[in-house]
Amino acid sequence: MVNPALLLAIPLGFAFTVPLIKYVSRKLMALTPVLVLLFNLIASALLIPQAIKEPIVTNIGGFSVPFCINLVAGPTGTILAALISLVGLLVAVYSFGYVKDGPVAKYYTLYLLILTGATGIVLTGDIFNLFVFFEILCISSYSLVAYLGEKSGVEASIKYLIQGSVGSSFLLLGIGLLYGQFGTLNMADLANQIQATSSAATFVPMILMITGLGVEAAIFPLNAWLPDAHSSAPSSISAILSGIAIGIGLYAVARIVFTVFGATPIFQLLAVIGMVTVLVGELSAFSQDNIKRLLAYSSIGQMGLIAFGLGIATLEGVTGGLFQLISHALSKALLFLAVGYMIYRVGSMKIDKLKGLAKRMPFASLAFAVGAFSLVGLPPFVGFPGKFLIIRAALAKEELFFLVLVAFVLTATVIEGAYFFRIIQVLYFSGEKTKTTREIAPVSALIPMGLLIILIIIVGVYPGLITNFLDSAAFELLNRANYVSVVMGLS
């Protein structure tokens, strides 16, 4: 059995040895993240069955629970860690051929740091440690957005930095208030003590923490930075930011709301915010003429859908939300990789310039079509079961309130379908009927896109492959008494 701490230690250690490996061989340097993330993927996948039986609690430093910093590798944590390393691995393979300009060694250092931060957020059991990993994730994303150092990237990065660091300060203020009130930073210990107090006493720190984490999670009023940052970053980084980073931010919100505070009335607010986010995201995406901005706005919409699923707060709803998180990570990574390759060859992000590209780049266009169909929620792709689970869970609540919200969410899905089909129409059915030479995609682009297409179809046809795991993950998120007793060793 692998110690969960290694999932953090190995990428963190290799992140800073990458610049040294550059002096040995440039090929080896580009290969390092692939090997590191392969290790992480295998290790976290091996941990999943054990974590489902009982969460693995690692107390660092050998102190007992309320005094130590601990890692809690529960079902949610290990599944998300596996997802992070899977997407990270495929994007690292893609970077092999994609990232050639600029300071490449720094790219790989920051790339590994983003993924370390994300893995840390899902595995930690301590709120200050959560803040530290959150900052690792944020600071490396600020720098990677400005990686090429061109006009739009620097501007987007500054916007992202200002909003992100105000958010982080709010998060830290919330943590400080909680520490002043309860004298502990451990999530389980906090949850245990908060159970005994009135909800009014913890309202201010909760709102501060949700606001702080919400900036990264891109929930509605806090997402002004996202379209610029995701569209200006190099496409491989957009895939990580869109697929992983914002989803992990939303996971952190869910962990804080469900496990630490257990605040039931806030769930309905989360569902409403989710619905508004879906509508705003999809409506803004509809009017874009820049393909990467369109995908960025569509990410906002998808985050809203996940927040809506989590806000239903039943076992089915949370399962649906987590399923949608996984489906969004796979589909959006595929879309950004395909679009990145198209932009690389065409040299423009305007949708008009992509006319008839399916003849020139059949594989990238196919990948785009699969990703788009999956996001819209057509069977047999992975987006269909995700949306189906969320809608079914909302209808099972049998409340007028949720019925109205579902109506809005479905409307937004129709809008989403409209703009994705428009692009597919541009790709396949417009442009001159001249004979163009087909371009063979490089192997480093073929492998990750091919694997993502296969995964999207397999999980879409057999959603049961992962829903069993997600059921226990949802149970872990919702059942805080169980979490407390496992982590504190009371059982």
Binding site: E155, I162, Y179
Partner: protein, 120 residues
């Protein structure tokens, strides 16, 4: 007067936080906004320190024999937290300033209302 002396640190911390937020929201110059971010950060750090502060308290290593009682110790945890938070704040500051230099190279101004390469 008694109220002021017992809560002076909290008043100072939240004063700094609000001044920082005000600067970030109102000013247009990037350097001023970065100063605002730093004030906000400092305010949060001061707040964290004052959570664990004890007037005339001491650290465990300075106690001699029987003088070591838990009630006379300053809580060390917030100090460790602030040490981490200061490091993070300093790195964000450095990154923001270096991005500011790049922004000036591209646009010839630090006024964010004139930087309109993308939709705000």
């Amino acid at each position: 007067m008694n109220f002021l002396s017992s809560y002076i640190y909290y008043i100072g911390a939240f004063g700094l936080i609000f001044i920082g937020l005000f600067i970030i929201l109102v000013k247009h110059n990037l350097i001023k906004i970065i100063i605002g971010l730093n004030l906000l950060d400092t305010g949060v750090n001061l707040f964290l320190i004052s959570v664990g502060y004890l007037h005339q308290g001491t650290a465990p290593i300075f106690g001699k024999g029987s003088q070591v009682t838990p009630a006379s110790m300053v809580d060390p945890v917030p100090q460790a937290l602030v040490l981490t938070a200061i490091v993070i704040g300093a790195s964000i500051l450095a990154l923001a300033l270096s991005l500011g230099i790049r922004l000036y190279d591209h646009y010839g101004t630090l006024d964010l209302t004139e930087v309109r390469g993308q939709k705000w």
